[in-house]
C-alpha cells in the first residue's frame, strides 16, 4: 500500500513510459483525457477543461446499463496549475450544466463525499515520467487547511495505535 496512512486519501505512484509534456496533456487536453479516463465499460462523451487556477471543468461519464446508457456529470475547479509539474482540481457530482448535486440526488451511494480533491504531480526521470496521484476525500486547501493537516497527523497516529491495539487483542 502506498497510502501514507492518511485516513481520507488514496495515493498512487506510477512510472509512465512517456515524456513529461505528453503526460501533462493526458490530464489537461480533453481529447487525450477522454481516451483513458473512463472506468471499464464507461466512455467520456464530454470533457471541457478551462485549465487555469479558478477555471472550471465538466466531465460526463456514460455507463451502459441494462436499461440503456446512464450519464453522470462531474464538475470541479482548478486550484493549482503548474504546467508539466502539478495539477490540483476539485470534483463534485453535478448536472449537465455543472450545478453541483448531492450524491444521493444522482442515485449514487450517499457515502460519497460531496467534494473531493485530485492532485497530480509529475516529474521527469530520464525521458519517462513519475506520476503521483493523490485523491483526497476532503479538499486540503479549504479554509483551515493548516489546522486540518495537523489534526490529520494526530488522528493518523491515533488510528495506527488503535489498529495495533486491536491486532494485539486478537489471538
Amino acid at each position: 500500500m502506498t497510502n501514507n496512512g492518511s485516513p481520507d486519501a488514496v495515493e498512487i505512484e506510477r512510472i509512465v513510459d512517456a515524456p513529461l509534456t505528453l503526460v501533462w496533456q493526458m490530464w489537461t487536453d480533453p481529447e487525450h483525457f477522454r481516451a483513458w479516463y473512463g472506468p471499464d465499460g464507461a466512455t467520456i462523451p464530454v470533457a471541457t477543461m478551462d485549465v487555469r487556477v479558478g477555471g472550471t471543468r465538466l466531465v460526463c461519464m456514460e455507463v451502459q446499463t441494462p436499461n440503456g446508457p446512464m450519464r453522470m456529470w462531474f464538475t470541479g475547479e482548478y486550484r493549482e496549475v503548474i504546467e508539466n509539474e502539478r495539477l490540483v482540481y476539485t470534483e463534485s457530482m453535478s448536472d449537465e450544466n455543472g450545478r453541483v448535486s448531492s450524491p444521493s440526488d444522482m442515485g449514487m451511494p450517499a457515502g460519497h463525499p460531496m467534494t473531493t480533491e485530485v492532485r497530480v504531480e509529475l516529474r521527469d526521470i530520464g525521458g519517462r515520467t513519475k506520476m503521483v496521484l493523490t485523491h483526497l476525500g476532503i479538499p486540503h486547501d479549504s479554509p483551515g487547511a493548516a489546522g486540518w493537516a495537523m489534526a490529520l497527523d494526530k488522528l493518523t497516529a491515533y488510528l495506527a495505535a488503535y489498529r495495533d491495539r486491536r491486532r494485539l487483542r486478537r489471538p
Binding site: P7, D40, A110, H135, L155, L159, Y162
Partner: protein, 119 residues
C-alpha cells in the same frame, strides 16, 4: 463498487470532518479524553457553540461521552475514521485501471506516430 460499509454514516463522518473547529476538537481528543469545558478553552466560542460541534461529532460516532452525570468527559472513537479510509481504498482499483488504460493509449499513440514517420 459494492458498498460494505454504512453509507449514511460515512457521509456523516465526512460532514463532521469538514469543519476546522471539529477537527481541532478531534485532534485534542487524540491526546486524551477531556470535558466540554476543557475542549472549549482554546476557542473563542461559547460553551453552547462548542457543545453543538461535539453533538455533531457524537452523531457521527467520532466522539463518545462518559456516563458520569456531572462531567460526561468526551473521548475519541476512531472506528468511523477507518471507514473513511475504506472509502479512499475503494478508489484505488478505479485509478489503477485508469492508469493501465493510459499506458495502453500512450502505446497506441506511439505506434501511430512511428507509423507516420516511417512513411
Amino acid at each position: 463498487m459494492t458498498a460494505t460499509i454504512d453509507e449514511d454514516r460515512l457521509s456523516e463522518t465526512f460532514a463532521a470532518l469538514a469543519n476546522s473547529t471539529r477537527r481541532a476538537i478531534l485532534a485534542r481528543l487524540a491526546e486524551g479524553g477531556a470535558t466540554v469545558n476543557e475542549l472549549a478553552e482554546p476557542f473563542e466560542m461559547t460553551l453552547p457553540a462548542i457543545s453543538k460541534h461535539i453533538k455533531v461529532l457524537e452523531r457521527a460516532g467520532l466522539v463518545v461521552r462518559g456516563q458520569r452525570a456531572q462531567y460526561r468527559p468526551c473521548a475519541l472513537d476512531p472506528a468511523p475514521l477507518e471507514e473513511v479510509s475504506t472509502w479512499a481504498e475503494r478508489y484505488r482499483p478505479i485509478w489503477e485501471a485508469r492508469f493501465d488504460r493510459m499506458d495502453d493509449y500512450l502505446k497506441q499513440l506511439r505506434a501511430t506516430t512511428k507509423g507516420r514517420q516511417g512513411r
